[in-house]
């Protein structure tokens, strides 16, 4: 916060050192653990980038505006994360009540796809590029 390097640069540097100098020397269970550590740090770097650049959450809120109207998304609150939480709960309840039964593959599908894509940009961008499930996966 007060000094350089900042949080993102620190995590990136730690990740690079780990991947270059430690990961290659691991095998078996420790290799598996090492891959998980690298994966967690990579996700953390992308999350820190997303905190600085709010495009992702805005894209999801725009998607909700397409379904509910701009005004209703505005009314859901001030903070973007809190808004997303409230809107997701509303949508979940409406789905269970059957509000979209005749149009499951319509606009609600488009919105949910945007939401899943934005989550994946942070947790596993490879899934978007090549539908590649993350590795390592549990045994």
């Amino acid at each position: 916060m007060f000094e350089a390097p900042g949080r993102k640069a620190l995590v990136e540097t730690a990740l690079a050192a780990f991947q270059e100098d430690i990961l290659p020397a691991l095998d078996g269970d420790r290799k598996y653990l090492g891959l998980m550590i690298a994966s967690a740090l990579s996700t953390a770097v992308r999350e820190l980038e997303a905190d600085a650049d709010r495009d992702g959450i805005q894209r999801v809120l725009d998607g909700f505006a397409g379904l509910y109207g701009e005004d209703n998304v505005e009314r859901a609150g001030h903070d973007a994360e809190a808004k997303l939480d409230i809107l997701s709960r509303d949508l979940t309840r409406e789905l269970r009540e059957g509000l979209y039964d005749n149009s499951l593959t319509g606009p609600v599908h488009t919105l949910l796809t945007v939401l899943a894509e934005e989550k994946l940009k942070l947790s596993n961008p490879k899934f978007l590029a090549a539908r590649e499930y993350s590795q390592p996966t549990p045994n």
């Binding site: 998980m36 967690a40 269970r96 899943a116 947790s123 549990p138």
Partner: protein, 340 residues
């Protein structure tokens, strides 16, 4: 503790002499501990046997899975039905020997490592036979039908297995602190498209690559029975084939290890008739929703502080992969229907 286990196993198996000469904790069990025990046995029905596996609970448990006593009964049921499973040898249900229940089984040869099984080219000449063998194993398992007094702990068989599964999954989602509209959307579709019920049979419910051993191209043991229960036989097929369990080898639609047609052919050969294979895409969607919900429950074990673990934390974050997969699978099914 080794001495106590050795004496117990000696008495259980009628050996004159039984020593445990080595013990190694095997990898890959977050919920259970599996110990390989090296033995020196003389007499009794394990005479000369060199290795067994002792399976017991790890420090943490998952509420929805069976305990070791029940698992031993399930493994025994599979063994008696002629499945290739590690032969169950002896059960200690009271916890009086090592402080928790455990059982001992034969050690299956080979590896269960899904990355090896889906990618190793050494396996390529064996993939047809392996997929067929897995189909036959499932058909043998599905011959076990209720009522079955040894498995009374499984409760009543559901009249409508898909409806039972959907209701359980709603329960899983409701237990989470956040909302997951894509999984909810998938569940709604599953509810609206529920197939006509077929009679419930014994299903493994976690029969996937990673949960069976393979040696020299052949299956040597179906493992991890703790989620077994009465269900639609297609639940096992859908779980095995779902893309989330192909470990990146998507083109091999049967568990990343072989072709769907070989899996089905093996099943039909053993069962004498096919299942309604046209319903498999439905059960693959259900499998993907289920794995998404379980992944979130595992993540929540970490998030809630109940059990700190990097593996659990990352598993929770995997759920978004299943969410997009569900959206794409269902859109594909609906497109196909619209074009018919």
């Amino acid at each position: 503790m080794q001495g106590a286990v050795a004496e117990w196993l000696r008495a259980q198996t009628g050996a004159e002499k039984l020593d445990i000469t080595g013990a190694k904790l095997l990898s890959g069990g977050a919920i259970q501990e599996n110990w390989r025990l090296d033995l020196d046995v003389r007499g009794g029905h394990l005479d000369g046997l060199e290795q067994v596996v002792l399976r017991t609970d790890a420090a943490s448990g998952v509420d929805e899975s069976h305990g070791r006593v029940e698992e031993f009964r399930l493994l025994s049921a599979g063994f008696e039905a002629g499945m290739t499973v590690p032969e169950p040898l002896a059960l200690e249900p009271t916890g009086s020997v090592i402080g928790k229940p455990y059982y001992v089984m034969r050690k299956a040869a080979g590896t269960a490592n899904p990355r090896l099984l889906t990618r190793d080219t050494v396996l390529d000449p064996h993939r047809t036979d392996l997929a067929r063998q897995i189909g036959r194993e499932m058909a043998r398992l599905h011959r076990i039908r209720p009522p079955c007094p040894d498995l009374d702990f499984l409760g009543d068989a559901p009249a409508n297995p898909a409806a039972r599964r959907i209701s359980e999954l709603y329960g899983f989602l409701d237990s989470l602190p956040n909302a997951y509209p894509a999984l909810e959307w998938g569940l709604r579709w599953l509810e609206l498209n529920r197939p006509l019920p077929s009679p419930a049979v014994l299903c493994h419910r976690d029969f996937r690559t990673g949960n069976y051993m393979v040696s020299d191209g052949a299956l040597t043991g179906v493992l991890d029975w703790e989620f077994a229960g009465w269900s639609d036989p297609l639940e096992d097929i859908g779980w095995f084939c779902a893309r989330c369990w192909r470990f990146g080898s998507d083109e091999r639609e049967a568990g990343g290890i072989g072709s769907r047609s070989d899996l089905y052919a093996g099943y039909e050969e053993e069962a004498g008739s096919p299942l309604d294979w046209s319903l498999v895409p439905y059960w693959e969607v259900l499998a993907t929703v289920r794995w998404g919900a379980i992944a979130l429950l595992q993540g929540e074990r970490h998030n809630s502080g109940a059990e700190r673990s990097i593996e659990l934390a990352l598993t929770g974050r995997k759920a978004a992969e299943m969410e997009l997969d569900i959206l794409q699978q269902i859109a594909g099914i609906e497109r196909t229907r619209a074009n018919v």
